[in-house]
Subunit: 161 residues, 2 copies
């Protein structure tokens, strides 16, 4: 398990192979088993594929193209205390990345920047309380990234700075 | 691996057993292998134990007592673009929780709320650019929480709301 955490790296090039529906379901279950502030679970998930995925990628240009499917993680302001949905959705996104890697698939955490939120919300007919947060394209990796550990002892401190 | 994600739950009661130093090192390595916005790795880690841990817990009252050790994840404003350290530190915190669970230990994600940040920074002599973010107490679970899946099909949408 810890080796899955340590060897997960951003994948930005994908083969054209489809991703089994059952894998997406398992990945979404992992996402929803993330912790959340006061267990508010302030997340919603939009699975994008086909023409809608293409339209999304034309808006959210920092997401690499080429994956057959992906998950848009959205914050739910109805159930979120203040902006804690950012932390809930981050934990869920990290679980998505790890579950993807555990299944031999690849992904990368891409942000929906503030200026893309409104056009994305319009495209997907999101209600006002649902905020597009991150998008993880999912596919078979076309290349396997180097997974050198990022451990840095200089960032560890004991009982004081 | 996915079962580790799905069975991780918040642990708030701990035995008095110590946690091996090697486990803490492995957990910190998992934390640092989280993804971060533009690979900025805007995190710092303060390992708290003994008298300093007690003093921290007297300030950060939402953290349960009883664990022999814990990790304070801090954002590093020097390396963070805007407030993206929140996402970096959330991903690192989630990796900590998963690595802890994988090792048979227990933890819970507790927040350092804004009003506790200054006294915590003073206690630990943190420089101004280092923001206390989350604290994860780590110990052997005294009780094993129920791990019913939080999967909710009502939160999954396909290509539109």
């Amino acid at each position: 398990m810890i080796s899955i955490i340590n060897t997960r790296r951003s994948v930005r090039k994908f083969t054209s192979d489809t991703v089994p529906e059952g894998d997406i379901r398992e990945i979404l279950e992992a996402a929803m088993n993330a912790p959340s502030a006061m267990n508010e679970q302030a997340w919603q998930f939009i699975v994008l594929s086909g023409a809608v995925l293409d339209q999304f990628l034309a808006i959210n240009r920092n997401t690499p193209k080429g994956a057959p499917i992906g998950i848009l993680v959205c914050g739910d302001r109805r159930t979120s205390r203040d902006d804690y949905y950012v932390q809930d959705c981050s934990a869920a996104t990290q679980n998505i990345l790890l579950a993807v890697h555990a299944k031999g698939l690849g992904s990368v955490w891409t942000t929906v920047f503030p200026d893309a939120r409104k056009p994305v919300a319009q495209l997907l007919q999101l209600p006002d309380h649902v905020v597009p947060f991150s998008f993880t394209p999912i596919g078979l990796p076309a290349t396997v990234p180097n997974a050198k550990s990022r451990y840095d002892g200089g960032k560890i401190h004991y009982n004081k700075w």
